[in-house]
């Protein structure tokens, strides 16, 4: 009995089966993810796809199971961009860490195959409405290739929404730390090697381009994996901060013929917004729940940056890279809420986790909004999902599948609540 219990608490929730019956959700306030809201809505979906989005006042037949969600809110499944869910279970335990490969130029390293669909951290996303994520490797100059998954699957293959969607590159900074071990001030100083560092990247892509143009007999695996960058089928996510770095990165990539770009982090992007808009570069912002980069920055710099960029016409979504990023990914809705607290319209803030993310990730044909024909990946929340007090999920669906909202954590909660109750 004890043994059974142990197994039980360590096992992941069973992934939901394919949608067999149509479902109609009626009466909720629907936040479509494209900025629109429908009060007292009717949403219907079957075979995993949304078949109807409209008002519950419409005289139309409700098909399949009808869920009364009066007073509740319905949202498209939230998307975590630039996340690393499933690539590590416990940060401090090396054996569980699979996100950072050795080497500096690793475009061929693919995150998808290491994605642990049964991670306890992954399942803890769902009760907060985070249902999809871009799984991204870390480290090096070119970290590797990401893939986009949905968060209720038996294995990585089932999880994949878009395989090998993008290559991620860490653009060098123009500041470097003083070598304290040589008695230098450990503060950051302008890096004299900055020019050299970016030249290396340029050269690498030029070599790759030349290689791809030639008909070489011997395969160069890393160069092969960059092919999509030059024909536009693979996006290049440039992880860069600083107006100078961002400008350099975009200009150089364009020169190299890499045009399908996104910017990650983008500290200082506000001063080069025109460049981003002109080149159709979306920005994956860091969490607002971090400290401003510089002592002189306004305390709310990280809270207001989204509005600043949105106002300038930049396409913006929310990313997750940083401290304790995996476990914190479940706080995604509250990050958007914080942006909304500091000036962004609430529905626009929601777009940062839904339609905008889908656009930047190139999956907006399938997900990101509540629209007919798209995946029925959505959830019902008792209240405002961007607010901790309202974010209480009663139902969540991924591709129409009625997924479990139980986790390792909810089981422990129930187990111990019962322990004291029975006393």
């Amino acid at each position: 009995m004890f043994f059974f219990l142990m197994i039980n608490i360590n096992a992941q929730q069973t992934p939901a089966a394919k949608q067999s019956n149509p479902i109609s959700i009626e009466g909720a306030t629907a936040h479509l993810g494209n900025g629109q809201v429908i009060e007292n809505s009717l949403i219907m979906f079957s075979d995993g796809k949304i078949t109807f989005v409209g008002s519950a006042m419409m005289r139309i037949a409700r098909i399949g199971t009808v869920i009364n969600a009066k007073g509740k809110h319905i949202y498209p499944g939230l998307i975590a961009t630039n996340a690393s869910l499933g690539l590590a279970e416990i940060d401090a335990v090396k054996a569980t860490r699979d996100f950072d490969e050795v080497g500096t130029m690793n475009p061929h390293i693919r995150s998808l195959i290491a994605y642990n669909a049964e991670s306890k951290v992954v399942e803890s996303m769902r009760p907060n409405g985070v249902l999809m994520a871009q799984i991204t490797p870390r480290g090096g100059l070119i970290s590797g290739t990401s893939s986009i998954v949905q968060l209720d699957a038996w294995n990585w293959e089932d999880a994949a929404i878009k395989t090998d969607d993008a290559i991620h590159m860490n653009w060098p900074g123009s500041f470097t730390s003083g070598r304290w071990w040589l008695g230098e001030d450990p503060a950051l100083k302008a890096d004299p090697n900055y020019g050299k560092n970016i030249d290396e990247i340029k050269q690498y892509f030029l070599n790759a381009k030349n290689y791809l143009a030639s008909n070489s007999d011997t395969k160069h695996i890393p160069y092969e994996s960059t092919k999509g960058l030059f024909d536009g089928s693979t996006k290049l996510f440039i992880h860069a901060s600083g107006a100078k770095e961002i400008t350099d990165a975009i200009t150089i990539c364009k020169e190299l013929g890499i045009n399908n770009l996104a910017l990650v982090h983008g500290e200082g992007a506000d001063s080069v917004a025109d460049l981003l808009v002109k080149n159709n570069v979306g920005v994956v912002l860091d969490r607002p729940h971090r400290n401003p980069n510089s002592e002189d920055d306004a305390y709310d710099y990280t809270y207001t940056i989204a509005k600043t960029l949105v106002d300038k016409g930049v396409l913006v979504c929310l990313g997750m890279e940083g401290q304790m990023e995996r476990m914190n990914t479940r706080n995604l809705p509250f990050y958007a809420g914080t942006f909304a607290a500091h000036g962004l319209d609430k529905e626009v803030a929601l777009q940062l986790l839904t339609s905008n993310s889908a656009k930047i990730l190139g999956i907006d044909d399938k997900v990101g909004t509540l629209e007919v024909g798209k995946d029925a990946t959505l959830f019902i929340s008792d209240g405002d999902a961007l607010d901790m007090r309202g974010n209480v999920l009663s139902k969540a669906f991924i591709q129409g599948r009625d997924i479990s909202l139980e986790t390792h954590q909810t089981k422990l909660w129930k187990r111990y609540s019962n322990k004291y109750k029975s006393k």
């Binding site: 950051l188 729940h289 510089s294 305390y299 304790m324 607290a341 607010d387």
Partner: protein, 987 residues
């Protein structure tokens, strides 16, 4: 060539002074006792005693007489110094002259906890036994540099360790021998917060550890002196021997200066403090130390701000430093701080005068400048025979062409112990000026500039430069003119009295003719010069200092106001719950009235309609505002306290109040099972450390369990304990020993005062409370059982992520839980951490707080409190208590803060919205009736920062375009202290 060298060597030896009783084999024994008289000079006997047209009579390296009418004995060598000045040579009392830099001990694979030395104190960084005479070697090259900069005497010591032993006073006389030039071989004792390079012993690893170590060392030295130790301890013996010496303490910044002074005061030792040049940032605090200072003058170059994208990364704090630091000496001096100057931290001694002249331009008084280089350093060392030219003092003096602090003045000679050292040959005439040069019926303009042998001339004909070569040597002028019609060579001499030069010219063919040059009227030039100088000094703009001296600092401290907040929704955190449309009156720093329709004539009225007022948030677990967090080099560090290292300049204080946090416990980290004592502070941005720490602060100490204390993430951890089993025994051991210690102490018998034991005994006596970092249920239960055995309770478990598994036991024990709202998965021991923890513990009757342990989270604890509603369904009222009254209760400050109740401190926050709504923003944060954060004021501050940066950037551009040296832009690194952050002390 070799012979010549040998000869020179002999010669140089022969002039070295020899003691009379030494035999000689070089010839007949001679003894020459020269007497010198320097006449007609302006003599600075001291900075305040100046004799015009005076005579200085010296013999045997000492001043025999000084005055206006000195009788000059026969046989005296007389030098007429008409128009020249004599100053006492300078003294630098903080050097490492003639001492080798200690070699770093090789580092082993594992951390070294034990000392390397035997027969000395248990800590290798306590080295009062260091006597540098053993390693002293007169450094001729360095001596020459110092002599050329005007220094005659230095005090030197080995810059190594926390207690560094004594110093030596050395006269910089290259031609003398150590037998004469060592004026005192036991001049002072030196201390610092830096570890010895000679040992890798890990303790202390932090500033607060170094402070604790100093205290314990003083206590042990006293115990030793009273004959209570059976063993020999050469370090303690030396410390006791050095007790009566001047104690000189090196610091790295003004905060450390206040910390060093604090330790000294506790043991009735007034340290002389080696400052760092930033004293102007908190001059009132520096002044209040009543200490003598030794101040460096190393001014940084302007940043190269020509690239705006790089320039925008430089913090205002660093820009200000460049602008403000030249005013440091002036500020210190105007505030009556007594200080000597040092060349310490200068890359080259050559820049000393340039920097000093800059300081004078920034308002430093010249008389004070001279005193800070002569009489003050002498008096700090307790010497009366150096630093002045009174009768009987050492004949250490400088001969200059005039005012020694004027850039145009030439320093001719620096006499040390009566020996002349020539800096610039005094006999070289000053021929600088503008001349009309007449050669072969042509009139040229000749302009001569420079000093001494380096005087050089340039020649123009009808305002066009003529190629020429000028030299001035041995009083002979030679000029080569290179014109289209060939070379003309001129040679001749200057006739000073007539401001005239004349001589013979030779043309290309060798034809001779005579030439002459006569000086033009100087008036016009002088006038131009003066006006130029005037303009320059007008240019000096020193931007004002703020508190703290960085962006968002306050220029004036907020005042206690009478504030009436009307019609606001009040979250009382008391049984009263939420009061709608109610007024609150804040008076004299307290919440004086809560009610409807309150009135006050004096009060500033704030309309609270639609807004929410709460008590200030209390963070039970924070690591902001401290210079160090962990003293992890021992398994117990109860002797250290964060109160020693509170850092009021941390921008996170401001960011925290912008999120409504007003009180925080700054906890020691979790590197060891028994950590250090806490500082409980109010986040009074702009105040100093003392002003922030709670008065009569409740006493707390950090304990820790689990992975961190057993060094789980260190590959080479060897420190006991390495398992949870060991952790229990460690506690049992310390509690047992503290109990025995306390019993002995209370018995009235003599006992060795041990700070660590004192602190742990306070815990046993229920005078100090434990806040224990904890994760898994086994260890939580263990600590409760151990303390119960010793008859006291754990006050708080912090983190306590598995508290929900033993919530019933916690309630029974009476311990509170201060936890994260939703952190987990960062290490193995948080595998079972669940966000429902707070709710389960609360439901089981445990007092629950939500804490941050993170400088970012601590600025939005309202959101974290709201998560207890989502996870586990706490009511809104209970949820809000987890960040206000509950942590206040856990910290024993609930009588003062944590709720809105009449009589409590006026620590309140005005929110735009429901405080636990994600959309809530802080409008005002008030602490003790003072508005420390105001959204509108904040906007003004942002604007001011941008404006000041532009102003400083313009100034730096001017500096660069004016030919000043610059340095590459620098970006300040964000500092992030968490539980497991380890600081490295310098060595």
């Amino acid at each position: 060539m070799r012979k010549l060298f040998f000869l020179l060597l002999c010669l140089s030896f022969s002039i070295v002074k020899a003691q009379d009783y030494f035999p000689t084999d070089k010839g007949v024994k001679t003894s020459e006792k020269k007497m010198f008289a320097l006449t007609n000079a302006t003599i600075y006997v001291t900075p305040t005693e100046v004799i015009k047209k005076g005579t200085l009579l010296i013999k045997d390296g000492k001043v025999v007489e000084v005055g206006k009418s000195v009788k000059i004995p026969k046989g005296t060598i007389i030098t007429d110094l008409d128009g020249k000045s004599i100053y006492p040579s300078f003294i630098d009392i903080y050097t490492e002259f003639g001492l080798p830099k200690p070699k770093r001990a090789p580092r082993g694979r594992v951390t070294q906890y034990e000392p390397s030395r035997e027969g000395y104190y248990w800590n290798d960084h306590i080295r009062p036994d260091t006597n540098p005479i053993e390693n002293f070697k007169f450094d001729n090259r360095k001596a020459k540099d110092m002599i050329n900069a005007g220094f005659g005497v230095v005090n030197t010591h080995l810059h190594d360790g926390i207690i560094r032993g004594n110093g030596l006073i050395v006269a910089l006389s290259p031609n003398s021998s150590n037998a004469y030039r060592i004026l005192d071989q036991k001049s002072a004792q030196f201390l610092s917060f830096n570890k010895s390079r000679k040992s890798n012993q890990a303790y202390p690893s932090s500033r607060m550890g170094a402070m604790a170590l100093l205290r314990q060392t003083y206590l042990d030295a006293d115990w030793y002196a009273k004959g209570n130790m059976e063993n020999k301890d050469l370090a303690l013996e030396a410390l006791n021997r050095n007790k009566d010496l001047v104690q000189i303490f090196e610091t790295d910044n003004w905060l450390d200066a206040t910390r060093a002074d604090k330790v000294g005061d506790e043991f009735n030792i007034q340290y002389t403090i080696v400052g760092s040049g930033d004293e102007y940032e908190r001059i009132a605090d520096i002044k209040a130390l009543n200490a003598n200072f030794i101040i460096p003058i190393n001014f940084s170059n302007a940043y190269d701000v020509s690239n705006p994208l790089l320039a925008q990364q430089i913090s205002l704090r660093d820009m200000r430093k460049w602008n403000q630091e030249p005013s440091n000496l002036s500020v210190l001096s105007k505030n009556g701080v007594n200080f000597a100057l040092t060349t310490r931290s200068l890359k080259s001694v050559k820049s000393f005068h340039k920097n000093l002249q800059k300081a004078i331009k920034y308002g430093f008084d010249k008389e004070k400048a001279l005193a800070s280089l002569t009489t003050i350093p002498a008096s700090i060392l307790g010497k009366t025979d150096i630093g002045n030219l009174k009768k009987g003092s050492y004949a250490n003096f400088l001969i200059t062409s005039g005012d020694i602090f004027d850039a145009k003045t030439t320093m001719y000679e620096n006499w040390v112990l009566g020996d002349k050292n020539v800096i610039n040959d005094m006999n070289i005439k000053d021929i600088t000026g503008d001349y009309m040069l007449s050669v072969n019926n042509k009139n040229y303009d000749l302009s001569i500039t420079g000093k001494g042998a380096k005087q050089t001339g340039s020649i123009k004909l009808n305002d066009k430069k003529v190629k020429s070569k000028f030299s001035f040597k041995d009083d002979w002028i030679s000029i080569i003119l290179n014109e289209e019609d060939g070379y003309t060579r001129l040679t001749g001499k200057a006739i000073n009295a007539a401001n005239l030069m004349q001589g013979t010219a030779y043309d290309t063919e060798g034809n001779e003719s005579s030439w002459s040059a006569s000086q033009k009227m100087q008036k016009g030039a002088n006038k131009k010069d003066a006006s130029k100088n005037k303009k320059k000094s007008d240019d000096i703009t020193v931007v004002p200092v703020s508190y703290p001296n960085l962006g968002f600092g306050n220029y004036t401290q907020p005042k206690t106001e009478t504030i009436l907040i009307k019609n606001v929704t009040i979250w009382t955190s008391e049984d009263a719950g939420i009061l709608e449309n109610t007024d609150v009156l804040l008076e004299d720093g307290k919440i004086s009235k809560i009610g409807k329709n309150l009135k006050s004539r004096r009060a500033t009225v704030i309309d609270g309609t639609g807004k929410h007022l709460t008590a200030g948030i209390v963070d039970e677990h924070s690591h902001i505002a401290a210079s160090s967090i962990n003293e992890g080099a021992q398994n117990s560090s109860a002797e250290v306290t964060i109160e020693d290292v509170v850092d009021p300049t941390d921008i996170n204080i401001y960011r925290n109040i912008s999120g409504g946090t007003t009180s925080a416990q700054i906890l020691h980290g979790s590197a060891n099972p028994i950590g250090g004592r806490s500082a409980i502070i109010k986040l009074k941005w702009g105040e100093n450390a003392e002003g922030m720490i709670y008065k009569n602060t409740p006493k707390f100490i950090k304990f820790a369990l689990g992975e961190n204390v057993k060094q789980s993430r260190s590959a080479n951890g060897v420190r006991f304990p390495q398992t949870r089993m060991g952790v229990e025994q460690l506690f049992v051991d310390y509690f047992t020993r503290a109990k025995e210690y306390d019993a002995l102490k209370k018995s009235g018998k003599p006992y060795r005062k041990d700070i660590e034991m004192e602190v742990i005994a306070e815990i046993l006596n229920k005078e100090r409370f434990i806040s224990c970092h904890s994760y898994v249920q086994s260890e939580i239960n263990m600590l409760m059982k151990v303390t119960e055995k010793f008859n006291f309770n754990v006050n708080t478990f912090t983190h306590i992520l598995e508290g929900y598994k033993v919530a019933d036991k916690m309630a029974e024990h009476g311990v509170g839980g201060s936890t994260f709202s939703d952190w987990w998965a960062y290490k193995y021991e948080v595998n079972d951490a669940i966000p429902f923890n707070a709710a389960i513990m609360h439901n089981a009757g445990v007092t629950v707080a939500i804490n941050s342990d993170d400088r970012e989270m601590s600025r939005r604890l309202n959101q974290e409190a709201a998560k207890t509603i989502k996870y586990g369904g706490l009511s809104e009222l209970e949820a809000w208590k987890t960040v206000t009254i509950n942590p206040a209760k856990l910290l024993h400050i609930d009588d003062r803060v944590g709720s809105i109740k009449e009589g409590k401190d006026a620590d309140v926050v005005l929110w735009s919205n429901h405080p636990m709504s994600i959309y809530a923003k802080v409008e005002k944060t008030i602490i003790e009736g003072k508005v420390y954060f105001d959204r509108e004021e904040d906007k003004k501050k942002r604007k001011a920062i941008a404006e000041e940066k532009s102003q400083l950037i313009t100034m730096m551009l001017n500096e660069k375009l004016g030919g000043g040296k610059t340095r590459v832009p620098m970006k300040r690194k964000d500092r992030n202290f968490e539980c497991d952050t380890l600081e490295e002390l310098k060595n």
